[in-house]
Symmetry: C2
Subunit: 423 residues, 2 copies
């Protein structure tokens, strides 16, 4: 089954707003067995919407339309849609009452401005908008389905997931697509491909494997259209996860590494603190982005300067002089000082050359040392990352959280080094 996406919005065309709606719709469609033929963005004008509808409808079964609805600009889109389908706009009493109730509840007197939102094409099914006042509309015309949704992302997403997708699944008997994930941190695409070559070669033609990389992470997705192969696809997922073992932090595509770490700490009734140099607080920020993290996260020392490393973490001057701030000895001392100070079950310490300046022979930009420790054990790792400051900061934070995950799970050796990703 094929679909087209029509985005209506001057704010996209003039570069003010980045369109994320089409990505959300496309991702969810593909996951449901609907392939996207085209994405088209047009202006908020009558002529542009009409032209857009004519272009996008060719060769597809469904057209998703977002944007152009709302009190200040719905007139044009409503008129363009109803004319395109040869329908009249009629006043809908029930919708008007809902809009009135919505604004009265908010003590807001904008009812008058929003009254026109109750004029709707005469033949369309309305889709509930739980997050705003613009109605979604479902048309079946010219042998195709047209779905019009508001452009505000959180309104559209809620409507799409809760009303549009279920209705499409009922209407078109979509294939059940099986997707299973392996979420990895700290290993690149080609290193993964090498390690699982035999497993990948053994995949039957009805199970496909996709590599979906982002900085520091690779998401692996096993997909099949054959519902009955669930056991088989799960077995391959397990096999890949076991092979990549220490790099795998989750089998759920919606889990972040900081979420997984939080769950493990909670389950172990353990606490964590961090001592950060080159990441400058990003590890703490990631940990505390999780609601409820105050149950296991106590605090951090961000020791950007050597003075703070010495005074707050009791790294000795001698260690800094002999080995430098970016060294195994320094991160070991940092994590020891941190644990003593914060009295947490576990501690993370990082120090590195984020760049663009600060590189030296033997310690170029991208050199990073990480230590993770508890009262009775410390592990350290050295990484050689990229020439890019923000990438180095981001990847280091993720590598540190993954080391902690492995440390808590007792799945780690004390020392290690890797050229790009941990070996």
């Amino acid at each position: 089954m094929k679909a087209g996406i029509l985005i209506i919005g001057d704010e996209i065309l003039n570069g003010t707003t980045l369109d994320s709606n089409s990505n959300f719709i496309a991702h969810n469609c593909v996951m449901s067995g609907i392939s996207i033929k085209m994405i088209l963005t047009v202006s908020d004008s009558y002529a542009a919407i009409n032209e857009g509808l004519n272009v996008i409808k060719d060769g597809v079964d469904v057209v998703f339309i977002t944007g152009g609805l709302g009190p200040t600009k719905d007139d044009i889109t409503m008129k363009a849609l109803s004319d395109f389908f040869g329908q009249k706009l009629v006043f809908n009493e029930e919708v008007f009452e809902k809009i009135k109730a919505y604004f009265e509840k908010r003590g807001n007197a904008q009812v008058k401005l929003n009254e026109k939102l109750a004029f709707l094409p005469e033949r369309c099914e309305l889709l509930t908008n739980e997050k705003g006042t613009a109605q979604g509309m479902w048309f079946e015309e010219q042998g195709k389905v047209f779905v019009s949704m508001p452009g505000v992302p959180y309104e559209m997403k809620h409507m799409f997931v809760n009303y549009v997708l279920p209705k499409l699944q009922g209407r078109f008997k979509l294939p059940q697509i099986l997707n299973k994930y392996i979420m990895t941190v700290g290993i690149g695409e080609s290193a993964i491909a090498e390690r699982i070559e035999d497993i990948e070669n053994a995949l039957p033609p009805y199970i496909s494997l996709a590599y979906l990389p982002s900085p520091g992470r690779v998401k692996l997705r096993l997909t099949s259209l054959i519902e009955s192969c669930l056991d088989e696809i799960v077995a391959f997922q397990q096999q890949i996860a076991e092979r990549l073992s220490k790099y795998v932090f989750a089998l759920d595509e919606n889990k972040s590494i900081e979420q997984v770490v939080g769950e493990i700490l909670l389950a172990n009734n353990a606490t964590i603190s961090t001592a950060e140099s080159c990441t400058g607080g990003l590890i703490a920020h990631k940990i505390t982005s999780i609601a409820g993290s105050s149950a296991y996260y106590m605090g951090s020392v961000i020791s950007y300067s050597n003075d703070v490393k010495i005074q707050e973490l009791h790294v000795s001057k001698k260690t800094l002089e002999n080995h430098g701030a970016v060294s195994e000895q320094t991160v070991e001392a940092m994590v020891k000082g941190l644990l003593k100070k914060m009295q947490t079950t576990y501690g993370i310490a990082v120090s590195g050359v984020a760049g663009p300046g600060g590189g030296r022979p033997g310690k170029p930009v991208g050199t990073v040392w990480i230590a993770v420790g508890s009262a009775d054990k410390i592990v350290t790792r050295k990484y050689q990352l990229t020439p890019h400051r923000m990438l180095n900061i981001e990847i280091t934070a993720m590598l540190a959280l993954n080391l902690l995950r492995r440390f808590v799970s007792n799945n780690i050796e004390s020392k290690g080094y890797s050229n790009m990703v941990e070996g």
Copy 2:
């Protein structure tokens, strides 16, 4: 002048990759006086590219094409482009030598795979790709300009800014567009509109004002197509900046608040440290995202738990018991303890209820206290922000950096409170 953007890429249509290229091109075009009629995304197939070219070329002077170039998939795009223009593909010796040199320099043996990148349409002007091996191409056919660029964002962006835009400006005598900015933090759109209503009403018809909001910030843009009104537009920029005074952190659209703060600290030969509770390290992360920040940023105490506030920042138990962790007294004590510990010129302390849990009567989710201080002065502010955790964390970090900016510039009163944005 009108343009269309054609994005070629299965990875966009299947929702794996969010297209940011079209937003970059649209923004830069609009800033240069080129309006975008349509953005169209099509598949990597011959038929789809051909259909896309036919749709996008209607009613425009220029077509920007990105994607579909590169060693693994250029064949189809090259063939589709050359067929569309009725051209042959010919081997380009010079380009081949460049590609060979590129890979030899990197010690990479992929020359064979990349050889086909040297087969190019016979009549097109090549555009230098300083960041990769796929050539950009400039066609003038059917009375229009077609520009084909690689899909990798940093290759495309570099080519667009350095080669495509200057060439377009020469070719089409584009209008000089004047844009002047006022960058604000800590005040919402409607509050700005109220305060500058008289200035906005006084704008002549050839100068327009746009409000471009993002979380915690509003960017104001004054635009004119009349080159000779530079003095006039600058006068309005000054007038608005003066009116909004304390909320304005820059007049340059590319400046972030953390950059501005860094420049001021450097200029004053001053240093900074932070004591963060609800922001969990985000202020430190923002400060250290700036290259060279080690010159003025020393370190932070992230005191998420009360124990860390007491032990590391010497907030008294009594203060916490009597006033709570989210209080003026606590952030004052935090900044005092911080300055004593870190010995920096300035200090920032924040404590708030980020949510979703932790709200209480009188201190609902979104309640935030910020203190900024030096050896002889402390200022505090209370804010009531949003119900959303990540928004509260992000906005608090920006408000804190803006308070610091004002503190250093001595443009601040000691105490204040605002319902949503600082009054």
